[in-house]
Assembly symmetry: C5
Amino acid sequence: MSKSRKKRAKKAGLPPGTLVYTGEKDREPIKITVMDYDEKHFVEHEIKHVEECSDYKDKPTVTWINIDGTHRADIIESIGKIFGVHPLVLEDLMSVEQRPKMENYDKYVFIVLRMLTHNNQTDEIKDEQLSLIIGSNFVISLQESGKDGDVFDPIRIRIRDGKGYIRKMKADYLAYVLIDLVVDNYFSIVERLQEKTEQIEELIIKDPTSHNLHEINLLKRNLIYVRKAFWPLREAISVLERGETELFSPNTLLHLRDVHDHIIQLIDTIDSLRDVISDMMNIYLSSISNKLNEVMKVLTIISTIFIPLTFIAGIYGMNFKYMPELEWQLSYPILWLIMIIIGVSMVIYFKSKKWF
Amino acid sequence: MSKSRKKRAKKAGLPPGTLVYTGEKDREPIKITVMDYDEKHFVEHEIKHVEECSDYKDKPTVTWINIDGTHRADIIESIGKIFGVHPLVLEDLMSVEQRPKMENYDKYVFIVLRMLTHNNQTDEIKDEQLSLIIGSNFVISLQESGKDGDVFDPIRIRIRDGKGYIRKMKADYLAYVLIDLVVDNYFSIVERLQEKTEQIEELIIKDPTSHNLHEINLLKRNLIYVRKAFWPLREAISVLERGETELFSPNTLLHLRDVHDHIIQLIDTIDSLRDVISDMMNIYLSSISNKLNEVMKVLTIISTIFIPLTFIAGIYGMNFKYMPELEWQLSYPILWLIMIIIGVSMVIYFKSKKWF
Amino acid sequence: MSKSRKKRAKKAGLPPGTLVYTGEKDREPIKITVMDYDEKHFVEHEIKHVEECSDYKDKPTVTWINIDGTHRADIIESIGKIFGVHPLVLEDLMSVEQRPKMENYDKYVFIVLRMLTHNNQTDEIKDEQLSLIIGSNFVISLQESGKDGDVFDPIRIRIRDGKGYIRKMKADYLAYVLIDLVVDNYFSIVERLQEKTEQIEELIIKDPTSHNLHEINLLKRNLIYVRKAFWPLREAISVLERGETELFSPNTLLHLRDVHDHIIQLIDTIDSLRDVISDMMNIYLSSISNKLNEVMKVLTIISTIFIPLTFIAGIYGMNFKYMPELEWQLSYPILWLIMIIIGVSMVIYFKSKKWF
Amino acid sequence: MSKSRKKRAKKAGLPPGTLVYTGEKDREPIKITVMDYDEKHFVEHEIKHVEECSDYKDKPTVTWINIDGTHRADIIESIGKIFGVHPLVLEDLMSVEQRPKMENYDKYVFIVLRMLTHNNQTDEIKDEQLSLIIGSNFVISLQESGKDGDVFDPIRIRIRDGKGYIRKMKADYLAYVLIDLVVDNYFSIVERLQEKTEQIEELIIKDPTSHNLHEINLLKRNLIYVRKAFWPLREAISVLERGETELFSPNTLLHLRDVHDHIIQLIDTIDSLRDVISDMMNIYLSSISNKLNEVMKVLTIISTIFIPLTFIAGIYGMNFKYMPELEWQLSYPILWLIMIIIGVSMVIYFKSKKWF
Amino acid sequence: MSKSRKKRAKKAGLPPGTLVYTGEKDREPIKITVMDYDEKHFVEHEIKHVEECSDYKDKPTVTWINIDGTHRADIIESIGKIFGVHPLVLEDLMSVEQRPKMENYDKYVFIVLRMLTHNNQTDEIKDEQLSLIIGSNFVISLQESGKDGDVFDPIRIRIRDGKGYIRKMKADYLAYVLIDLVVDNYFSIVERLQEKTEQIEELIIKDPTSHNLHEINLLKRNLIYVRKAFWPLREAISVLERGETELFSPNTLLHLRDVHDHIIQLIDTIDSLRDVISDMMNIYLSSISNKLNEVMKVLTIISTIFIPLTFIAGIYGMNFKYMPELEWQLSYPILWLIMIIIGVSMVIYFKSKKWF
């Protein structure tokens, strides 16, 4: 996140529309796959030269071009030329830190989504940009990295097998299916955060440690981060849903309303989690403080009982010549008695006041 | 709640419209009851095969089909076919973690509500999804679980006996009566939370313990949970009320406005309760802290009085050969006097400063 | 407040429009007074049977029917029949825990207000429901309790004496005058809360006690309570003001705008008071904490000074055979000197560090 | 502020439009000055009898009537009669605790502003009501008090000298100039608060005392107070600006947009100051707490070092007959060594842990 | 910031449109550079007398007049006369503390931006006003100070070299390029704040000191400051974007939408940073408090262990004649044993309770 943004500042002063890749370096080579289908036909292959895409441009069938990796300006530029994409869109394709958004360019719609993946080893959430360019008969999907490209495999299988409606529908439905998949993946991220929240909560109630504070903070940060990826998407899909573009059929819009509902549900859940976490923070703090206070109280009570007793012992440790008690035979056992009475009555008094 | 959501994530990658039940497993068998009535006629019976419903589809009388349990995809699908319900609605019927919503599909209106029930034994609030499909002459109500199906008994009795307006009215009025009942049940939930709040408040003022903190937290969580079930309902009913669908007569809309008012009143009450609880949290914390401070102060004062006295005793416990006081005959009683004066004047001083 | 709400839940399952009184029991008998006037004529009397009201229904003069007590369903029902009032309005008349609202039923306007009265003995704020049904030539005002019915006496006197505009105006103006009186009474409630706030503030600055915390909390609760009675009224009057009903003349609407301004001013004042109170809470807490800290600091300093001195005394209380200092003649006075020097220099050091 | 409001409550029950002065008593006599001008002519004089104003009512020249003091109902009533002002406006003129507002009465516009003046001696902010009645050829300005009437002197001089545009413009421009002056005066109030904020901040960072808490609180209160005077003005001017009245020319509206910008800038500044102050509060509290904690820590460390040493001394103060160490010749110096080692190593240990 | 505002108050009472410079004094002389270009021609030179600008007024080519320094009223007035600029705009040009805004004056558009520069030495953020007056064939840019005038050099080079689209476009595109550059510079400011945040966060987790509190506060202040410069810009560009003026072509508006997106992204980042910082504050406070509590606990435990032991030693330091233990031969070693047992078992007990 911080790395890509740092590069963002270097763009200052360059002419608008200059294609500068702002993501991490050391990328794998770009991989372009094409799926072309209608109800009866279906073709799928990987292409070497981006120029081959132009074959599909005017075909009436639905063409799905998936590009894994957006770091090569020449490829992006070729795509732009073939499909008549606006230079600002091309610039956004390579600036991989965009917020989710929807832009309507009459002939095509440009959508930016954030794909979230949870790394099980480091317990970190990674987000990648997924850009969609949706025309009347094509969908171009561009992913930041090629590694997680298999996220779309369930859809590929559905297209290959011709199961469900997908082969009978147009490009807008394919776009919906891709968006729906991304949003469905959000559920697993949010559920993970939910589990984590429940785990930490149990720990805090049982035995709060300062390590929990760090974990709560991390969780909070993740929630903010995830919410930032969802929130603008709601608006973006809401714009689509309002039917501002004719590229989407009423049926697909109905489906998008469903996606919209899912996003609102996710945001609801995240907001509840944030409430829960901020309460947890308070509980943690008051638990820690209660625990310490209990300790301090008990310790102080011990001191308080012994200090007056020590004083009495000190009295009879004095070396005055004329101290009558010192001579008496029963002084010592009586003193013990007095001290035990004082000690016990202090304990009883403190107990009666519920001081411990 | 968490269980159902976890299953939600597993749906990722499935084609939209796939019917997957997301609720708890081990459900009882589904039970379908049909009530068919107009002002003069009335038929009620339980049906075995969902296909029997088709008999009622085009009858001019009002038909109320109540289905307890939504976990069987085949039954849901049959219902969908008979009444021409959109696949996305069917999907929502089985995904029992929907937020309350209202969707207008011209020929019918689809409403999702959350039914809240309070478990007296565990003191927990359970919520279940109630889905309503309202057509011009039928209402289909689907409840998540069959166990609490008797919640609608007062309405059934009213229909059977022909009391009130209900038999004279259309399906939209039946739908209103169902919604009204659900909202009326919210009142008892909210009143329960209110009583609980008052109980805890009394406890906190009398004698705050760390257990209260836990209870406050639980109450807070319940309020958030309950509010989440109400809040979107307000919007949903408000959409209905605005008369966006012709299925609802002006008279029924007037009644819905009344329901809308009730929901706002409930939300108001919950928001007040939340204010009260967050104040309670503060009072609890400052009570706890005050209590501890009082203890610490008293204990510290005791130590503070005896430490200088112990020092004096220590002085005359020294073994110097030439300590003139040790030889004097009145040293010992004079010392006692001095120590008592010091002790008493410290107590007076602390009292005058209102330190205890 | 809580009592009436509890009864609310019992209504669940009853047919809508069922008249159930939700207020306190043990009400005095209902009292109905009628004033009928125009610029020249004026009649006033108390009626025994509610049916007598029907005489005034179609008279061109302005009729003001004031009903003290809404707990008898038969009377409410008669009123409803005579003036053609919707059953839902009748239900609201008896459910005395309504939020302020305005409902437009073409032939009449239904307004719910909350009347606030301050009990000087218990220092509690009581609120009662005042419902107004305003037709073209009549105003029906229903108060929850008959005891405080004399709140409208200034208006009665104005009507009797024919002073001011009131006798020259229509029913809408009478309605405005009633609303204006209720809002004017709010000022005295708010001013009372303001005085109370200033009193507590002075106390807290002078000498904060844990009792103040309780008072602040009570005040806060009262502010929330009062605000809840004002806030929706603003919206209700704003709806009237927008001229959605033809029952109100432009001149009366101008007057209502004035009432609207007053409510906004009251809300402003209450919001300022809430800010002040939440600041007060902080000041209280930090005062209490400062006070305790000062005490603890002084006490700790005393201990800290004497502990090293006691140690020194302890040293020379040891019984070693070979301790050369014990034999020296000046040991004792020198030790006193050393101990005084240590004590004084510690005091000086602490003072220089501004520790007390 | 509180004084005037208390009187407000006494108005309850009086007929609307009754003129009751709600400000402070013991006012100076009312002073009325008239300026009548156009590009070429200019007349200025003080008038004794308010009826003289009627001479200017239908003159095509611009007439500015400035009234210092609004406590005499007869004068206000005369003004109302001469210029055809609505009774509710007259009532508002005398109720000097109005929020800023703008009311459009076709023939004239009624504007209420709050004039803020800073009292350098008491460091208090006083606010007074300035009411403007703006007709096509006249502006009536009413100030609560006559003492600060000279606030408009710069405008009077500009009119007298015929400098700037003012003599060439209509009454609407004069109204704008008056509003602009009031808003310009706000800048000096806000700058004063800003300086005060910076002063207190410096004090708090250098040496926080409990007095600062009081000052922060006062500052906060002043900011709330000042903001309350600005905030509604923004809305009021924004209504004017939207051109809802024809009394204001497009050119004057352009100037009002400028005033509107100034108010937004002021609100921005105040909101920043509030942020700064609430941060200051936090810094103050944590500084105070840090300071105390440092003290407590050092004191506790001193005790902790000496308590074990005192114990050791206590051991050898015991009077057992058979304690071999007591007889040894080197016991005493060795014990000193041991005690020094223990003390020093504790200090080193605490230092290494950075405990002080 | 504070300096300029203070001068603002001095303007009170001056006629509107009076040109008063509100920025810092001791400015360098004003420098005016003109670039005049179309696709084929290009002229650039510095002019001495502002009147020379009039040559370019009606030329069809694009003219960019850049003025470094706005402190001379005569120059501003000349510019105003030549290009027909409204006096209020001229006033705003010299009042260099304007919020970002966009004002549409049919023939030209007036835009105010804040340019932020980070001073690496003092770590302070300086902001300057950049005003743009955009006509159909000219852009006048006015910067507060001449020192940082080179900020526009990349654009100058692009114009000189004829690279990119800029020479082919109209004045509106030049305006966009200038705005884009200013916004691009914001990225580096925000990234700097982000780095700073990360640095402080690391420090706080490793070893929180009271110095960090100061740094957090400074950072927070900077974020508020920077946000204040962005926030209104969003609205201003959004107004432009909505196409309220015909001076901007659809293509340029598309580019402005891009700038708008960048601003929203920046605001998003700043808001996240504010969340992070407010969390950091909490973590800092609870770290500090935890650290202290740990210290206090350990110290108190040490005292608590030794106080009872000292009491026992005190007992056998008493000088009673008849204390049988004193005579026994094994008393001393047994006592040591007892004391060691007591000490060790206390340590074990405290450990088992996890008190340290």
